[in-house]
Symmetry: C2
Subunit: 399 residues, 2 copies
């Protein structure tokens, strides 16, 4: 008598959540310091001090009725203007507040884009590339469209262009990318973005209509030495950027981000209206006001994320020395090595013997790999290497 769809989905909790629950139980037995829980991508560093300062400032200086009053659907004008100004400085764009729509985090931003670009049950397709964040499937289905997954190029985790070109057809409404990538940490090179843009320009001409890039960028600010994240709208006009402050400011619980688009986008003059209409129908009334004001002060800042790079260096060097195969992460706080047997689920199960809690790649559309979320303290990362060594020995892998 309840919704059939959602009744079926009860208890289908994510593998990541299951890992997290297992870790908690195991920690109760042997102590949290002895459980190498690499399952959850929760930032391990505090927000910058400016976040608290901004909150104090709001309480001391703003009229409390206005400060907590109804937001406008698009977000506070001054906040959006500030974000536009910062993006212009950083990327040479020509944004104003009219290019920015505030959202309650990247999940909302993505859902709103999927709904804005597709028609329900019309056979519309959105292409993405393995490995990818599992919620993409849920959110695209929920918009009544179909997620088409291009298999990973597991040697580089750049794009498998041959498969990509074959997958584009008259139903393709958008291409969804995520660089720096969850779960593999890889950053798309400028060459990759240029090639992607060139193919899409060609296909737009071929089909006589727009194909958008949806660029999911919550990790844009977490980039390691030697890597750079190209700003996609500077390479392809029809781009919708979905941004979140969850990782850059370590505030995933406050649910704040935005959608940005350039003035060169084909539908620039109506995009903000379509986005607002889609958000409204999804029951989004507006973005929490206090953290909009926080963002006005803190956009452009980041937490001190150097620990992620330290951990990456230790893990990448350590794991490859042991004999694991891993593409070097260029950002995020994830690595995505190959499992030592083809069945990554069995491999991750075996890893638990050494109290390593790892997430199999299957849920990310990339079997034979596992995700390590190294947003944790460096001491634990260092101590984990011995465990990874013992696990490898079981498989007869020796450095």
């Amino acid at each position: 008598m309840l919704s059939k769809l959602y009744s079926q989905n009860i208890g289908k909790r994510s593998v990541i959540r299951e890992c997290f629950e297992y870790s908690k139980q195991r920690a109760a037995v042997i102590g949290a310091e002895n459980v190498f829980d690499f399952s959850i991508g929760n930032p391990s560093v505090p927000p910058p001090a400016e976040v608290d300062k901004a909150i104090v400032n709001i309480m001391e200086n703003l009229n409390p009725i206005a400060a907590h009053g109804y937001p406008s659907a698009e977000g506070d004008s001054a906040v959006r203007a500030k974000i536009a100004e910062n993006l212009n400085k950083k990327y040479g764009t020509d944004y104003t507040e009219k290019n920015i729509f505030m959202t309650t985090g990247a999940a909302a931003a993505l859902g709103i884009c999927f709904n804005s670009l597709t028609d329900r049950d019309a056979g519309d397709e959105i292409i993405t590339f393995a490995p990818f964040f599992p919620e993409y499937t849920v959110f695209v289905q929920s918009a009544g469209a179909k997620l088409v997954v291009i298999p990973a190029d597991i040697d580089s985790f750049q794009i498998n262009f041959e498969e990509f070109e074959k997958a584009i057809n008259e139903h393709t409404k958008a291409v969804l990318i995520n660089s720096p990538n969850n779960p593999c940490g890889v950053v798309y090179s400028e060459e990759t973005i240029k090639k992607l843009a060139a193919i899409l320009e060609k296909k737009q001409r071929e089909y006589g209509r727009s194909i958008y890039i949806i660029s999911d960028e919550p990790y844009r600010e977490i980039v390691f030495k030697g890597f750079e994240v190209p700003y996609v709208p500077n390479y392809y006009d029809n781009t919708l950027v979905c941004y979140s402050y969850s990782k850059s400011l370590s505030i995933p619980g406050e649910r704040i981000g935005y959608i940005a688009f350039t003035n060169k986008a084909k539908h620039a003059n109506i995009l903000l209206g379509v986005i607002a209409a889609a958000a409204r129908s999804m029951t989004y009334v507006g973005v929490p006001m206090m953290f909009q004001q926080v963002i006005k002060e803190c956009d452009g800042l980041t937490s001190d994320t150097t620990v992620y790079e330290t951990n990456k260096n230790i893990l990448y060097k350590g794991l490859t020395e042991i004999g694991y195969t891993c593409v070097e992460p260029g950002g995020t706080f994830y690595a995505f090595p190959r499992s030592l047997e083809p069945d990554a689920v069995a491999f991750c199960e075996k890893a638990r013997k050494y109290d390593l809690v790892l997430v199999p790649g299957d849920g990310f559309g990339c079997p034979g790999h596992f995700r390590i979320a190294y947003c944790t303290d460096t001491d634990k990362v260092e101590r984990s290497l011995e465990k990874f060594r013992l696990l490898a020995e079981e498989y007869g892998v020796k450095a």
Copy 2:
């Protein structure tokens, strides 16, 4: 090339927003103090001091990583337990945290309930009663169901039971009520709730399946002398309560509320799971963490809302003395008198001559009436009566 549905909806801004924009423009010309803007239901009193105290407490005493970390999908356990405890004290229920699902305000709560109780494009119907909040139409359609509206009983704004019974059929999945009511301020009497429950019990037996009440209760705490709001789950087991702190704590911009259901609900054992699955597919990841912690401290408190009752008394007495017909509001900060000509849109247009900004009842499914949102200062309410008198004179109405 963008979504057809949402492209059509561009610029369909609500009448209320249009009024609000008009008021701003007019205020720039004649001064805000001379515009009697009764259009927007934005609380006019500040949050209780405990809200700021709770925020300071979070900053001083909680680990900032956890305080701003990912929320669990259902909401923080301790917050939900506190809400359950307070409801039990107030209404004699037997809730635990398992009966509460946190949401980003009542809009999200409603959307999640609609999705949880209906199947998309299966002909499912949700019945509501005029006058009703216009967004109901958008949210129900967006779940792929149909909103069926029962015409108002304009003499009492209780329920037109004859029409209601006729409208219930094999497609009826839920009945959506809103008491105290936006836009008319009327509170359903205990007699009304009992009769509603009795009819639904009978219809459940007749059709051999559940029909839920969805009780939208953002104004539950704003009730005037001589009125009481019956707690619906104590009269009907299959009730989903949608609550919001927007009005009780004057924090509509922070988007926080919850869904509650009793242990006697037919699907009590699976409801939390279905609700979580629906919320997930709508891209709701969780409710902002800082304000969840605020609610743990402030649930059960309210802003000082006495000004709303003062204003109601002045307006109700004043308008009826002038000759307007109005059902006495039992709560909220709205009144919903009859317009002095059948066309409420024309009437509200005429009212602007006197700088009275009023919202016609048509959008609320109840033509021939207009809404006054008197969440404003009492001086303005008092001064407005002369304007209402002049307006009435134009129609030849004399006290």
